[in-house]
Amino acid sequence: MEQVEKIFETRELNVNMGPQHPATHGVLRLVLDMDGETIARVTPYIGYLHRGIEKLGESLSYFQALPLTDRMDYVSSMSNNIGYVVAVEKLFGIEAPERAKFIRTIVGEMSRISNHLLWLATHALDIGAMTVFLYCFREREWILELFEMICGARLTVTYPRVGGVRNDVPQEFLDSLYQFTEEFPSRILEYETLIDQNRIWLKRTVGIGVISAEEAVNWGLTGPTLRGSGVPYDVRKHAPYDAYDKVDFEVPIGTEGDTYDRYRCRMLEMRQSNKIIRQCIEKLPPGPVMADAPKFTLQPKDKMMPITHPTQEHAFFIVEKACKGCGMCLRACPAKAIFGEKKKPHTIKQELCLGCATCYVTCKFKAMTIVPGGKGLSDEKLAELAATPLPEEIAKASEYLVKHFEFIRRGPKVPDGEIYVATEVPKGELGFYFVSDGTGKPYRMRVRAPSFVHAGVLPRLSVGHLVADVIAVIGTIDIVLGECDR
């Protein structure tokens, strides 16, 4: 018999995890260098979802950039909106009315609960507890329906506005939410019965991804990821915004800094959020929901109603004497109902006119006049009527309309300066850094995304563990790649 001698050698194995991997919560790609089944090195690659929100924000006015913030952390878009409007309000130097502040606190905490529910659902699913997933989505659905009730959207809400909120909340919403807060603590207990003392859950989470308090601070971690290590840093307490200084709540912190402690922190945080919502509903003061600062905020549209409402039968007419023939209205008209040559008085073809008032706000020479109830009349008759002064109500509305138009076009006049404002979103500290140069657009808009910082700590947390634990670590730092890549 012939003896065959084989030489066995060991070498590191490279494994590509992602970008399309169900457990990476988005498009995160990890290159794992493995020694057997132990992780020797992790290299994260991000940027697959980079949309240049910072660059886009610099090209839009302060109001227009708000919907972009929804698309960052799409799981808790409400908190992102609040972070943005709080920062812009600080930059403008305006303050939202009390009621708006309380409403924003309520919806912010709702968004925290819905985010934590989604986090718990997917985290448990990754580790192998399927039932929790279904239970969590039941409650999350309730919250999303409540969001739909106040703003019509479930995920990308854009409900808060600079200077307040879009509209007041209906009583129906408050009733349903109050009922939710009554039932929710028992629901949390349900989840906890499933996994809190579960042996598999404990095996998969205790002692995994341990980080000490000093190191966690040094890495810039925030939110529950930091508090799991025992650092009581919460922006809601350290720099209170909205109504957080008027409600009573505690900050849960862990001791070990492992995956299990971070899980416990988030569970307790949901109870605290529940408590905050209850208090806010009980204390909710009456009053307006939009700040009275016409130089900085968009005012309600109904002030312009006498002119712009489709049922108003106004006609627009060009006064021949005043028209200089500049062609501004001709270019602006969406229906192409204005005719005329350059430097000669223009005319409106009344059959084509939509009555949208675009020409009225563009005219700089006050040649355009409104003729109340003039729809369908001949040009001679309109010329006759145009000479009479406008009724007071319409004169006021027209003045407002022109001002509003100018405001939208130029944006608010913002003082020169720079500002960094942080808010506590469910994932951690969301910071907005604005540099203003006095125009209606930010000169520099910087977003400090918690997911970005947390993804950076992945190599530190997962080295030395097994491959399956990387999944647990990705879950525990709670990242969303839309926010990470911006």
Partner: protein, 193 residues
């Protein structure tokens, strides 16, 4: 394995930011260029040469203890200021509850600055992003690669002279052009209407 709930006693304000600025001025008189104050947020504008010393002082001094680097980012003042770039450090002390902003000036030709990763480990990715977006080189950085954009991307998008719509179609990133060509090739297999 025990989680406790704590009540953070507030309001507790740390040192006044103007006082901190005075302290930095005292310690590094030649480095501080200017101190600005806007809406109670104080920023100290410094030269870039001794930035690591300044940061280490802020991090280690027992009265200051800026242990939390909130944010690190670049700003491009193209045609507005000279030197053109600034690297902004937003610092916060979790222990003492006070904050300060340090802005280091970086010139346009050969933009570089020393890294602060030895002080705050979290600065690692922020500095990579700043390099990616502005082309500011962080000397001594352990792993200075592009982070959000592809590694062979040309140009630095957040600079003010970079077009908003990106590069010209023919000069676009080769990966994108490949995708476009591939979609053209696959067009013939589409369903006919």
């Amino acid at each position: 394995m025990a989680v406790v709930e704590v009540r953070i006693s507030l309001p507790y304000k740390g040192m006044d930011p103007t006082e901190i600025a005075e302290k930095i001025k005292e310690k590094f008189p030649d480095e501080v260029v200017d101190v600005t104050n806007f809406r109670d947020q104080v920023s100290v504008i410094v030269k870039k040469d001794r930035i690591v010393d300044i940061c280490r002082y802020l991090h280690n001094d027992p009265l200051l203890l800026f242990d939390h680097l909130q944010d690190l980012c670049g700003v491009d003042y193209h045609g507005k200021k000279d030197p053109r770039f600034e690297v902004v450090y937003n610092l916060y002390s979790i222990r003492h509850h006070h904050k300060i902003r340090v802005r280091a000036q970086v010139p346009e030709n050969d933009p570089n600055i020393r890294t602060v990763t030895s002080i705050w480990a979290g600065a690692n990715w922020h500095e990579r992003e700043c390099f990616d977006m502005f082309g500011i080189v962080f000397k001594g950085h352990p792993d200075l690669r592009r982070i959000l954009l592809p590694e062979d991307w040309e140009g630095y998008p957040l600079r003010k002279d970079y077009p908003l719509k990106g590069p010209e179609p023919e000069k676009d990133w080769h990966g994108f052009i490949e995708v476009l060509n591939r979609s053209k090739e696959l067009k013939e297999f589409e369903w006919e209407e």
